[in-house]
């Protein structure tokens, strides 16, 4: 099977869908001739033309608004916001419009827009190239919210998102673009070719939206995570020699509550790990849901490991980033609880 990194897998997903469905268009800043600042749309304009792969003005609000209009007129736009940190000028169009068009028109209109956007830190990007704002979108009724953690899922989920009749906010953890990352910046980079999920079929397939995945089965505790942090969590548990069950949430909305709660009910212990700030973060939703459904099975409080509640600081990247040490402290605390 072909080996792909996450960028190639995402490119392949758009390539497959542009070829299969003439209503699919790709749009965004620098995505056309240049092929995107991360090369994710490389070659697509050459192959499908300037009417299918559009270079947009630098106006995120405009990109989202026109994507909605195109979708209302029957297209399936895949809009790139170059960094999630730059999505806020489009927030009104996403929250007040995109998320609610089906609802407020009783289904007469809908806007199946996919918003692709690189998120997360670990690349020395400072506060304007490192944010993880998934909770701001998961909180909005009417948006599906997705974040893959490997190339196979990235392609399958992006195709599923494009085929979905509802809007999807598709977060791409950019630290994972070129390889899995276990949280240690001093180790040499590892390519996706070393990872089973770096094997990606060339053609069409989907990974269902709304389904989490058990990336490692285990008995001692459940780690619930997504994006870059699934890899950091795996390494931290391995470092402690724990038999952890590790769940990659993959889709924040709709959330695979069944898989997560069944696992915690079995293990009785749970640590939630995400890169975003803690306060009112997505971990709070996970923790509340698990507590509601698993209270009588819990043997320890549910702990969260997250970024701190500060803007993302350039000089303190690795003190901010929830690396293996922070995850390990929480794992130990949960295991040591009575």
């Amino acid at each position: 099977m072909p080996q792909m990194n996450m960028i190639q897998a995402l490119n392949s997903a758009m390539d497959v869908m542009l070829a299969r469905d003439p209503s699919v268009v790709v749009m965004g800043e620098d995505v056309g001739y240049f092929g995107g600042v991360f090369r994710t749309t490389e070659g697509l304009q050459r192959k499908y033309g300037e009417h299918r792969v559009l270079d947009s003005p630098i106006a995120e609000g405009g990109i989202l608004a026109t994507a909605i209009g195109m979708a209302v007129n029957g297209l399936r736009p895949v809009a790139e916001i170059q960094f999630a940190d730059y999505i806020y000028p489009a927030y009104d169009q996403i929250v007040s419009e995109l998320a609610r068009i089906r609802y407020r028109t009783a289904g007469e209109f809908s806007a199946p827009v996919v918003v692709r956007t690189p998120c997360g830190g670990g690349i020395r990007g400072g506060q304007t190239h490192s944010q993880s704002p998934e909770a701001l979108f998961a909180h909005v009724a009417g948006l599906k919210v997705v974040m893959p953690a490997n190339p196979y899922d990235a392609k399958g989920l992006l195709i599923a998102a494009i085929e979905d009749d509802d809007p999807v906010i598709f977060f791409e953890p950019k630290r994972l673009y070129n390889g899995p990352f276990d949280g240690d910046p001093h180790k040499p980079a590892v390519p996706w070719s070393t990872h089973a999920k770096g094997e990606v079929p060339d053609g069409h397939y989907t990974v269902p939206i709304g389904k989490a995945e058990i990336v490692r089965a285990g008995h001692e505790l459940t780690i619930v995570s997504y994006g870059t942090m699934t890899h950091v969590s795996e390494a931290a548990a391995r470092g402690l020699g724990l038999d952890a069950e590790i769940i990659d949430v993959r889709t924040m909305v709709p959330l695979d509550t069944d898989m997560i709660c069944q696992s915690v009910a079995r293990t009785g212990r749970c640590v939630i790990v995400h890169e975003a700030t803690r306060f009112a973060g997505f971990g709070a939703e996970l923790s509340a849901t698990i507590q509601e459904q698993c209270f009588w099975n819990l043997q320890a409080p549910i702990l969260r490991v997250t970024g701190w509640d500060t803007p993302y600081p350039h000089a303190f990247e690795w003190e901010y980033f929830p690396g293996q040490a922070r995850v390990a402290r929480a794992l130990k605390a949960v295991m040591e609880a009575a």
Partner: protein, 413 residues
């Protein structure tokens, strides 16, 4: 023939491998664009965006109604500021390549915009820059050492390690914080100017953004509020032709000038040769006087060229001809001012070379001192606990708890 709509995609004049082509540029000879009174009603000067304010002609002479008649000493100061900015930029670019700083953005080719504007303004005027206005700091006298310490995120970093390199600020020097998010500073400058008018001072607010950033809604907010309240503001579109890989045609520059948006909002639109230090100076004087005397805002378009990459993360050879800048019809701002001074008999190639060497030494010495305060990777380092300060004025309890968690985490390591 049946006619039907067809999506128009702006044309890019030249791509890699093509011959550079600037035939799309509307030029005017130096001295040709008239200079109205700075208090002229906006409705009577709607022609300005179609012109191009230029002072330096092809023979390196200062000509026409916009000539600000600066003396040789002032011209030499401007030359020094521009050259220092370029020497500093070049050195920081090389240092980024060596890994000592994480990121850098040069202003090569655009030095005249910041230098001449800062020189023509008063120190009390407030500046809201984009990330390519570093020369404002040079003119207003911030030591390079301070800028370098910011680039290094070291123990003397004005941002205490919290910002990406080049995102400077300077309260005392009246230069607002640079944001990585585009165009946000533009309407903020208008708000500052509105406050100046409310308070009854005669200070002016000045802001800059790129042709690409003018696509953001904040650009339009700025023009609307400035014109509605007749705010004492100078709003500058630095049209350097490129927004990373995106040509200015995609920002709406294909059929009309950016300056032409001014009259649409009821304010003058001055289109200026941004590589002509004297033209930029004169246009700024005009707009500042207009603002200070209650005649409201001016939209200024600086026609210039982004001679270098967008940033150290960019490679323009992928999307435009490599030798584009050598063919740019408005030349290089440093070369043009140098040649003007030589023509006046006030400068020489020898003095230029000596100045260049002196500035190289100054930059090198500043760098040597700066790294003594630490680098991103070498001690001394800023205390990581600083990351929890200034989120709020007083640290709330949840942040204090997180700070303690980090302390425990670091002690365990």
């Amino acid at each position: 023939m049946v006619s039907k709509s067809r999506l128009h995609v702006p044309k890019v004049p030249a791509r890699p491998g093509d011959k550079p082509d600037f035939s799309y540029l509307k030029l005017a000879p130096a001295g040709k664009t008239p200079r109205p009174d700075s208090n002229a009603p906006a409705g009577e000067i709607r022609y300005l965006p179609e012109g191009l304010v230029r002072v330096l002609d092809d023979g390196h002479q200062a000509v026409g109604p916009w000539n600000p008649h600066l003396d040789a000493k002032e011209l030499q100061v401007a030359l020094r500021h521009m050259l220092l900015t370029r020497v500093f930029d070049d050195r920081m670019q090389r240092i980024q390549r060596s890994g000592k700083i994480s990121f850098y953005m040069r202003s090569m080719g655009e030095e005249a915009v910041s230098v001449a504007m800062a020189m023509a303004l008063r120190p009390s005027d407030m500046l809201f820059p984009s990330y390519r206005n570093q020369a404002l700091y040079v003119v207003r006298g911030r030591p390079l050492l301070d800028l370098m310490c910011q680039l290094l995120s070291n123990t003397r970093d004005m941002c205490k390690g919290r910002q990406l390199p080049v995102m400077y600020h300077w309260g005392e020097g009246r230069i607002f914080s640079i944001s990585g998010n585009l165009a946000t500073q533009f309407p903020q400058a208008v708000g500052w100017a509105m406050a100046a008018a409310i308070k009854g001072t005669d200070d002016v607010a000045v802001s800059w953004l790129g042709d690409g950033s003018s696509a953001e809604a904040d650009f339009h907010h700025a023009l609307l509020f400035a014109s509605v309240y007749r705010a004492p503001a100078i709003l500058c579109v630095v049209n350097n032709q490129w927004a990373i890989s995106t040509f200015q045609g995609f920002a709406g520059g294909e059929y009309q000038t950016f300056a032409a948006r001014g009259p649409g909002f009821g304010m003058p639109g001055l289109r200026v040769d941004g590589n002509d230090c004297l033209a930029v100076y004169a246009a700024t004087q005009w707009a500042a006087l207009r603002a200070r005397t209650g005649h409201g805002p001016t939209l200024m378009e600086h026609v210039t060229y982004r001679a270098a990459a967008h940033s150290t993360s960019d490679d323009p050879a992928r999307y435009r001809p490599k030798d584009d800048y050598a063919h740019w019809p408005l030349g290089d701002p440093i070369e043009r001012l140098k040649n003007h001074l030589i023509r006046l008999g006030e400068w020489s190639e020898e003095r230029q070379a000596a100045l260049s060497a002196e500035l190289e030494d100054h930059v090198a010495a500043s760098w040597k001192e700066a790294v003594g305060y630490g680098t991103l990777t070498e001690p001394p380092r800023l205390d990581p606990h600083l990351m929890f300060e200034d989120v709020f004025k007083e640290m709330p309890a949840h942040l204090a708890r997180q700070e303690a968690e980090l302390r425990a985490e670091l002690e365990q390591k």
